[in-house]
Symmetry: C2
Subunit: 386 residues, 2 copies
């Protein structure tokens, strides 16, 4: 199976080194960066930041967008503004990038791990409902974990690898249980549920523009929200909570230095112009993979859920349940020959810092960890295969 | 006095808008940014980050430099790595930018405000010694505040506006009392005590490359240290505490997403090449100010302390003690005509989030707040005056 996997991958891509995800700079990147330098505004104030925010807000169909240094900072602030307090619990998935759980811990809270769905790889509304019914109770001042006695103040599901999770069902449960919902849309810029962009199903969602994402600002992240008050708060608290004044320096709460520099936003503006083309390329790559790997037995390519559009950020194969013994050999063999692949992240409850966090049955997450492999996903791969 | 102040400033600069501090991009900025895009590495991995770190380490005479998203992040990590634990107290000055105190609070600790020296505007070793003798006691497990019962685990003095504080005396006291010392050198790149760069008198120091600083990376900061183990820890914890592996994602503690992107480091490399020239320009500007304001009664230009070199980041005038009633009028009048000036930051103990922190007598800080005004300091002003 490994050999046939490599054979078909090599037929697609030839013999060179193939990274997992490589950014492409084929638009106005160089021009906008030079403009930014010429404008003399490279730091946290500048027209490019505003332009980038407005364009992402338009693209996602959100009223407001607040650009930050990275997706982790955006998660931290969203969790804080959602009302999470030290000592609270925040529901999330064990199958996620560590930033989700780090951000929860920056707010002094603890993640609670709920299982994911096998098909979406995102938080399972069925597991969420089951956990809340069994372990939580609604009180006048919020929903509490009956076992730990702690308040469950927020829920942070992720649209894993750009594949939308069942966010509408999750949102309904969170409303019923009076739990703040924050979509971790770090990986899903360009992914939709029905015709609505991921991230607009919750009061706040977070995006990432890290180097490996669909578009990049070097380092960058964002909160999107329709709530003007939250947007204002997010901007204030990420700008060191400085009270606006032409020359006085007064800060009215503990704030953060989290705003995206104008330089990085300039790169973002250029990248965003190419996003529609990148999304088409990534979708086309999926089609190539579908055809190329069709003869390979024992694996399936992950496809977008029904009525959803995935941005296909990371193309993902799933080994059949009886083929998991091949996972490590495939990873080893492909990486050794310069065909970059990777497993999903080590599950959060298996990491030392989160090993003692409360968790439910995580059978699906644990199965997926054994069965999933991300394969090369750069939109530029089309130039090779076409 | 206000009129004569404005008259002499206008004689120097003419009638245009004069910002407080404007970055200058007259070197290889555009080229290096384009190179960075061409290299395809814009994010947290890349040769420009390493090059920028090595060059700053060389410039400051430090063994290691770890580049981060901004100075606040660098302070946060330095404070954490110095061993500051939640519930501790950290000594600092009330006359500082809010980032110092925010970073202390991110670590779960509380600032204790000690007075500054009138001539350096930085932490006063005399006040520090007095505070420790009166209020602290050494125990087997550290130095404790006798009144609050809390451990005093670190001391963070700042080289205010680039003027070196009495860091050698402070360092000696910190050694005697077994308190970790972290120099906040955010404003003092290019400032020296005798022939040693500020920041090398403590186990770790932090720099800032914000847009208003002597050199800028858009947003950026750095820890410099001679301690290889601390440098390694700083790099690890700011890279999400990821355990190095070609494809596995394992994180062994709660980490941060704080590394400087390669794009910003590219800008930093170009800026650093111009640093010596900028320092000369700022020193020359000081000389112009000295001559131009000589006839203005009631104010003095702040000069570098003896045996020290200031980078003259922000040029600063001090009103005579009997002239403080003019401060607000000068600020108002100058800003109204586009000649940017500003007072020092609102003192930390006067800000809501830090109003209840322990503090000593702060007479000098309070005096300086009434007497100091920062005046236009861009190195590019030389083009106007010369």
């Amino acid at each position: 199976m490994i050999n046939s996997f490599i054979k078909y991958a090599r037929e697609l891509f030839g013999a060179g080194f193939i990274p997992l995800h490589r950014p492409v700079f084929e638009g106005n990147e160089r021009e906008y960066l030079v403009d930014c330098i010429d404008s003399n505004f490279v730091s946290s104030v500048g027209t490019k930041v505003i332009e980038f925010e407005n364009r992402v807000a338009d693209f996602t169909g959100s009223k407001h967008a607040i650009a930050m240094v990275n997706g982790t900072a955006a998660l931290h602030i969203a969790i804080k503004l959602a009302g999470v307090k030290p000592g609270d619990e925040v529901i999330s998935q064990a199958l996620t990038f560590v930033a989700t759980c780090n951000a929860i811990s920056y707010a002094g809270a603890e993640p609670v791990f709920i299982d994911v769905d096998l098909d979406t790889m995102g938080l399972s509304p069925t597991s969420l409902q089951r956990f809340l019914e069994r372990s939580a109770e609604k009180r006048s001042n919020g929903t509490f974990n009956k076992l730990s006695g702690k308040r469950i103040s927020a829920c942070v599901p992720m649209h894993t690898f750009g594949f939308p999770c069942r966010i509408k069902e999750i949102a309904k449960i969170c409303v019923d249980w009076d739990i703040a919902l924050i979509e971790d849309a770090a990986e899903s810029l360009g992914s939709y549920v029905a015709s609505r962009h991921t991230g607009v199903f919750s009061s706040m969602a977070t995006l990432s523009f890290n180097g490996n994402k669909v578009i990049t600002t070097g380092g960058g992240g964002m909160i999107i929200t329709d709530d003007s008050e939250l947007a204002k708060r997010a901007k204030h608290i990420t700008t060191t909570a400085k009270v606006p004044h032409p020359y006085e320096f007064v800060h009215n709460e503990i704030g953060y230095n989290y705003r995206m520099p104008n330089l990085n936003a300039a790169l973002g503006c250029a990248q965003l112009e190419q996003l529609p083309a990148k999304l088409v390329a990534k979708r086309t790559l999926f089609d190539y993979y579908l055809t190329a790997f069709e003869p390979v037995k024992g694996v399936n390519l992950m496809a977008e859920p029904k009525q959803c559009l995935s941005n296909y950020w990371l193309q993902t194969i799933m080994l059949n349940a009886d083929q998991t013994q091949h996972r490590d050999d495939i990873l080893k063999a492909t990486n050794e020959i310069g065909l970059m692949t990777r497993p999903v992240w080590r599950l959060m409850h298996q990491l030392t810092p989160f090993a003692n966090c409360p968790r439910m049955d995580l059978t699906s997450a644990e199965q997926l960890e054994q069965r999933l492999i991300n394969i090369p996903s750069s939109p530029s791969l089309l130039e090779i295969v076409e």
